[in-house]
């Protein structure tokens, strides 16, 4: 109870301890996660399986909203209404089943009740499959369009909801108790997501219909000239990059470097906008890298030569990195940890990029043999984000709800460790000195050199490496 009294979240109050030495815990957990992925994929998503939700948009919406609900339960509501004593004592499998069930029920209420029911029936017609069907669309596309819109909303929320906790440190409501804090932050981030949705995705939805719905949305959309497409995939690119950056910043970067800022409001604001800045850098680079690999886009083409697909693929590529990031953080013990924080961050960034790259290659080389999908980079109805987010969701359930069972177990942190949690908000292990400044200058020069080295080598890789045969 000590941790709860001090307003320390459950995830921060526990310490995950390996049950066995060596790599066995990681192997056991990865085996379990892949087994769960295989079974649940077959039951819910696989086009050859039982429920076949990979239509594709129904399954796409489900996996994205599931991610949000997991974040809400663990990060925003800190497991409220479940008592800390139950979280500490219940068996991890029991917790996994109960908390996942609660998340699924809440997700269904949100999708069916709020989006399709309330918003779709009384606000914006395209959120309701029934209304679209009644207006003459086929039942299939009525459902696909409305689930696409709901899915896009989730993409935004999956960036803003965790960002408020990770970057803004729950401010200014950090001292509220649950559920007041959870409700407040959920409502605020939902409200912000709504604004961003209208600024980024509403025009995309408006031009799905003929004629373009010019009285209710800006058509053609304002980004057409910049992004070379009228598709909202342009926004998916940077928003998914933001989502990934939030978790990179939270996990392998240990909130470095913004946690060096001692002034609370400045640190939080810098972290929030810094995440966006890092995401934009990643977004523009991945887009450009594709042009270097596959040639410049031709507007109006389909698949991998189309600008809209390239923007979408920015988000997809970023998600592959997130798999590497979370894998290293959850099952690799955030290795390495023995160097100084900046060096650890640097090395983890490289390692997670290598893991993400390997997952990317393996996915495009072999996934069609297992997932009931087709080989190829740009199938118009296939989204690698669906299996990747599905996998991430299972890993999050394992890590957050099940305390890393079976390889790990949760142990309450000691008084000293809890004190460290509170003081860790601000890092004290890096301070401004002339030698640090010299190092920064040398490092920045090296970074720019690496960047130009990479963009020079990408066309060569494109000519000499073939992922899909």
């Amino acid at each position: 109870m000590e941790a709860q009294n001090r307003n320390i979240s459950y995830l921060e109050s526990r310490k995950l301890v390996k049950r066995w030495r060596g790599p066995l815990p990681a192997i056991a957990n990865l085996l379990m996660i892949f087994a769960l992925f295989g079974v649940t994929w077959w039951i819910f998503q696989d086009p050859r399986g039982i429920m076949r939700m990979y239509t594709p948009y129904v399954g796409y919406m489900i996996c994205r909203w599931m991610l949000i609900l997991l974040i809400w339960v663990a990060y925003i509501f800190d497991f409220w209404p479940f008592k800390r004593s139950w979280l500490n004592k219940a068996h991890p499998v029991t917790k996994g089943v109960v908390l996942t069930t609660v998340s699924v029920v809440a997700m269904m209420l949100l999708i069916k009740g709020f989006f399709m029911g309330l918003l779709g029936q009384y606000g914006i017609a395209y959120f309701s499959p029934d209304r679209l069907h009644a207006m003459g669309l086929t039942e299939f596309y009525a459902e696909e369009y409305s689930t696409e819109a709901i899915m896009m909303f989730a993409a935004i929320a999956s960036w803003l909801a965790p960002s408020w906790v990770v970057a803004c440190e729950n401010a200014p409501w950090q001292k509220l108790t649950q559920p007041a804090r959870g409700i407040t932050i959920a409502v605020v981030t939902f409200f912000l997501s709504t604004i961003v949705y209208f600024l980024t995705m509403h025009s995309h939805m408006a031009i799905l219909f003929d004629p373009w719905q010019k009285y209710t949305a800006i058509t053609p959309p304002y980004w057409e000239g910049f992004a070379n497409t009228v598709s909202g995939n342009f926004h998916i690119a940077w928003i998914m990059s933001c989502t990934v950056t939030v978790w990179v910043y939270e996990s392998i970067w240990e909130r470095y470097p913004f946690n060096l800022i001692k002034t609370n409001w400045l640190r939080r604001t810098s972290a929030f906008f810094g995440i966006i800045a890092v995401a934009l850098c990643m977004c523009f680079f991945i887009y450009y890298a594709q042009d270097l690999m596959w040639g410049e886009t031709v507007r109006g083409t389909r698949r991998e030569m189309a600008p809209d697909w390239r923007w979408l693929h920015v988000g997809e590529t970023a998600i592959f990195w997130l798999v590497g990031v979370l894998g290293l953080n959850f099952y690799g013990g955030n290795w390495p940890t023995k160097f100084s924080r900046p060096v650890n961050v640097f090395l983890r960034t490289i390692i997670s990029l290598l893991i993400g790259g390997a997952v990317y290659v393996l996915y495009y080389k072999y996934a069609h043999l297992f997932l009931g999908t087709q080989k190829g980079f740009a199938h118009p109805q296939q989204f690698p984000m669906i299996p990747m987010i599905w996998l991430i969701n299972i890993a999050l359930i394992n890590q957050w709800f099940m305390d890393g069972w079976p390889g790990w177990k949760a142990v309450p942190k000691t008084e000293t460790e809890l004190n460290e949690v509170e003081s860790a908000v601000i890092a004290h292990d890096v301070s401004w000195t002339p030698s640090l400044a010299r190092g920064l200058a040398v490092g920045a020069t090296a970074g720019v050199t690496i960047y130009f080295g990479v963009i020079n080598i990408l066309p060569w890789i494109s000519q000499n490496v073939q992922i899909i045969k």
Binding site: I207, D291, F346, Q374, K375, G376, G443, A446
Partner: protein, 387 residues
Amino acid sequence: MTDDITTPRRNFVKGVATGVIGGTLAGMGFYSYTNSAYSRLPKVAREQQEFGAVRSVKVTAISETSWFNNAHLMEDIQKSGGLLVDQYTIGWGPFGNGKGPGKGSYEEGIAKIKKMIPGDLEEAWALQEKSSLHPDNPGGFSTLIEVEDLDGSKHKYLLDTGWSYAWMDQSFKREGIDQMLKSGEIEALIQTHEHFDHFFGFPVAMKYNNKLPLYIHNGFYKEGRQYIVDSGYKGDPIVVDKELTPIRPGMMLMKFDVPIICRVFGETSLAFNVKDKGLVLISGCNHQGILQMTSTAMKKLKYDNDRFYGLYGGLHISPFEDWDPKYDDLVISLGKWNFEKVGCNHCTGHLTARKFIERGYPVVRGTARFRSSTPDYLGNGDTITFG
């Protein structure tokens, strides 16, 4: 003393580690999406392979109506589990097994009719109607292409074989295709891809000529290859495995390796060099995308006047009367390529055709006969000539 040395060194290393990430990010953010970065992209050299020329190409839409009720087709797809479900399992004829949507199989379907095809198609289709989904819905896509060589000689090719045995046989008879096949007047069958509405009617062509040369994409699945055998084909299919396969002077088969809905892989399309006019592109469904095909042709082929002259086929934009903003990218951009004649139908979609017309593109209108539903584009029995 040691600390005095190592601390600055450690700080320096911390700075380097941070700076490398910062510097790389700076490059990524400030340079990647700039004009300067794009000026570095290598210019793509045009290979411009010579492939001869023809005097003219005449196209007859034997059938462009792949299905007659879009809601019924989408209902079948939805109940089966969406757009990624294997077409042989959806439960459509001729592979229906009466078990319901998404529970069909090639083996069970073909077992019922194997002895009847290709000789007794009426009985085979009538039997299938009892166990398949929406049995009155299938139509099919099939096209007759007549190529006039520079010396005036004419050569006929059949592009795709449609879907419903009953509808395709009726359509073949209406356009005299049955006789052309019997007499060997049609020199080859080009099966553009494996989709139900282009391929399931394969036995209808076999009924009249089961030895004519056959071109198929190398992405055909084992069910598709077996269907060719089970339909009574007696030749050796030419499995297209190269990007460009010459058919005759001035006529080139282009292969595209693209994953397609309903678990189909790859499509082939045709390019013609019409003497003194330019390039004509003809496709079955054009899943690769019409501008992708155009841009590939521009890079790979040499054609008269270096000009895009004509376009015909299903352009696969809104086949289910669905829409996506990326389709507007095509509608907006197509004008830049300056096609003189656009003959489209089938999976182009009514909405796309109307948007093309609204933007003033030279879409050749049809006559809306033989169950074609709109005069906005070329319908069943309509023809278009390039040259």
